[in-house]
């Protein structure tokens, strides 16, 4: 018995790069931290949390049709893991029936991340300082406490992004087919904003948009009780605090809001 414990122990010690437990958790140990992370599922939620470290820690939950979320175990049956050139790729398996796979990932805050949900779910990202690139089909996108820049595309779902700071000289774009785009930035934001809503929307900006005659921005800034939703397209291009990198916010159906970061 002691001999077998010794052999298993040796195997676990020499297993390269990561050790796999049976709790649906995977840890990538990397002295430098990855430069990029790609995570993709068909159905399910993607939650990314940035932290000050070098390891990537993955936790996967599987929800079978009509069931409750359970640790995805063994992990390799649910998530395909690939690591190459200091970039990590995590891909949820093709659904078997109506199932979902949730990925919760702790990643170094300076990692560029690319997230994709092919069918539906929710994407939440917090405390990241590099590029956040999102390709989402159905569901909301919530980005909090960002310090970098983002390119977000959603089909059916709102986009909410809050920045404590932005990467200078990096353009950003937040585009959805159906849903609100709500962005918040520090008071001293310097950017060129391009805001477009095609229908059923309005534009509210807590930032002064010089030269903008669009009434809804002014009305909403006055704190009116009811925010008017117009049926006609609204397109605004204006500098904020003198101008700077480009920020595009566009929705085919819904309002656009620019707020001050709390």
């Amino acid at each position: 018995m002691n001999r077998w414990i010794f052999i298993v122990g040796i195997i676990l010690v020499v297993w390269p790069a990561h050790a796999q437990s049976n709790q649906g958790t995977l840890r990538f140990v990397n002295a430098e931290g990855p430069t990029a992370l790609h995570a993709e599922v068909h159905w399910g939620n993607l939650t990314i949390v940035g932290y000050d470290g070098t390891d990537v820690v993955l936790e996967a939950l599987h929800t079978a049709e009509g069931g409750m979320p359970q640790p995805a175990s063994p992990l390799a049956d649910y998530v395909f893991v690939e690591e190459a050139a200091n970039a990590i790729s995590l891909t949820g398996r093709t659904p078997q029936g109506f199932e979902s796979i949730d990925l919760v990932i702790r990643v170094p805050a300076e990692t560029n991340i690319h997230l994709r949900i092919k069918r539906g779910g929710e994407i939440r990202v917090g405390s990241m300082n590099a590029l956040v690139e999102i390709d989402h089909r159905n569901g909301s996108v919530v980005l909090e406490d960002l310090g970098g820049h983002a390119l977000v595309k959603a089909v059916n779902g709102s986009i909410a992004a809050s920045f404590r700071g932005i990467t200078p000289d990096k353009a950003m774009s937040f585009v959805t087919l159906n849903g609100e785009v709500a962005l918040s930035f520090p008071d001293d934001l310097e950017a060129d904003v391009w805001l477009r809503t095609t229908r059923n929307g309005h534009v509210f900006s807590a930032f002064t948009l010089p030269g903008v005659r669009y009434p809804y921005a002014q009305e909403a800034a006055k704190g009116t009780d009811k925010e008017p939703y117009g049926s006609a397209p609204i397109a605004i291009r204006a500098p904020v605090n003198g101008g700077g990198p480009l920020i595009v916010a566009a929705t085919e159906n819904g309002p656009i809001r620019l707020e001050h970061h709390p």
């Binding site: 690139e133 595309k153 059916n156 353009a171 774009s173 087919l177 480009l246 595009v248 085919e252």
Partner: protein, 245 residues
């Protein structure tokens, strides 16, 4: 009386012909002048023993040859001082020439960006591995006049771009341009049932603006898709009705 004042009298003093006066008194009591007088005396002695050398037989001929060459130079047309300076500073001239060509080319691209397509700065952005930089490059192209070079670059980007945000931006810029039928038709190919719905929406706006000839065919193909997003279906039907008017 200083050493400088007494210097002309050193030879006389050494020769023994200077026996009185202020110069004599100074030299006689000044160690510096004494040494100088001694050195003069030694030099004179060497000169007295110097043997005059006879010139070589070829010296005369060499002299007359040099004289003839000088005469020829003086009678030949004077080359421009620039040419002479060029011969002496060839590397400097080549460096100036290369720098001038580069600056003229770069300046032309900046001053007339549209005639050559996007400016070099924009091209760098469009070729960047960062999708954020490519996005900035696309919208920067909007500032360039509607020139074939810029349009071609944006069409290439549409074909190769993987990020939908950047693709939509390229369509938005192309929509604002005046385009020929061939170009609008090439953009129309991206309207397919498989295209991303956000791209489909941008393409519908493009069709509304430019009305490419084969729009109806593409719109009908898209409308035949059962899984088409409801908003896209609604908009595609509206555009089709508009085209038929």
């Amino acid at each position: 009386m200083t050493c400088h004042d007494a210097e002309p009298y050193l030879l006389e003093y050494e020769g023994g012909t200077l026996t009185e006066g202020a110069a004599y008194a100074h030299i006689a009591s000044c160690p510096t002048c004494q040494n100088a007088a001694k050195a003069l005396h030694e030099t004179q002695a060497l000169l007295q023993h110097h043997v005059l050398q006879k010139p070589d037989a070829s010296l005369r001929q060499a002299f007359y040859t040099m004289l003839a060459e000088e005469k020829e130079k003086m009678s030949a047309p004077k080359e421009a001082w620039v040419l002479g300076w060029w011969k002496d500073h060839k590397r400097w001239w080549l460096g100036v020439a290369f720098a001038s060509v580069f600056l003229i080319g770069y300046g032309t691209a900046l001053w007339f960006p549209g005639e050559l397509g996007p400016s070099p700065d924009v091209l760098v952005l469009l070729a960047s591995p960062s999708p954020a930089d490519r996005l900035a490059g696309v919208y920067a192209s909007w500032e360039a006049p509607n020139e074939p070079g810029t349009t071609a670059v944006l069409l290439d980007l549409l074909a190769s771009e993987s990020n939908v945000n950047v693709q939509v931006a390229a369509l938005e810029v192309l929509q604002a341009y005046e385009l020929d039928e061939a170009t609008t038709a090439s953009v129309l190919q991206y309207l397919s049932p498989e295209a991303d719905p956000v791209m489909q929406a941008a393409l519908l706006r493009f069709i509304t603006q430019h009305r490419p000839a084969s729009s109806a065919t593409h719109l009908n193909a898209v409308l035949a898709t059962p899984s088409l997003e409801p908003l896209i279906r609604q908009e595609a039907e509206r555009v089709l009705n508009t085209l038929s008017i």
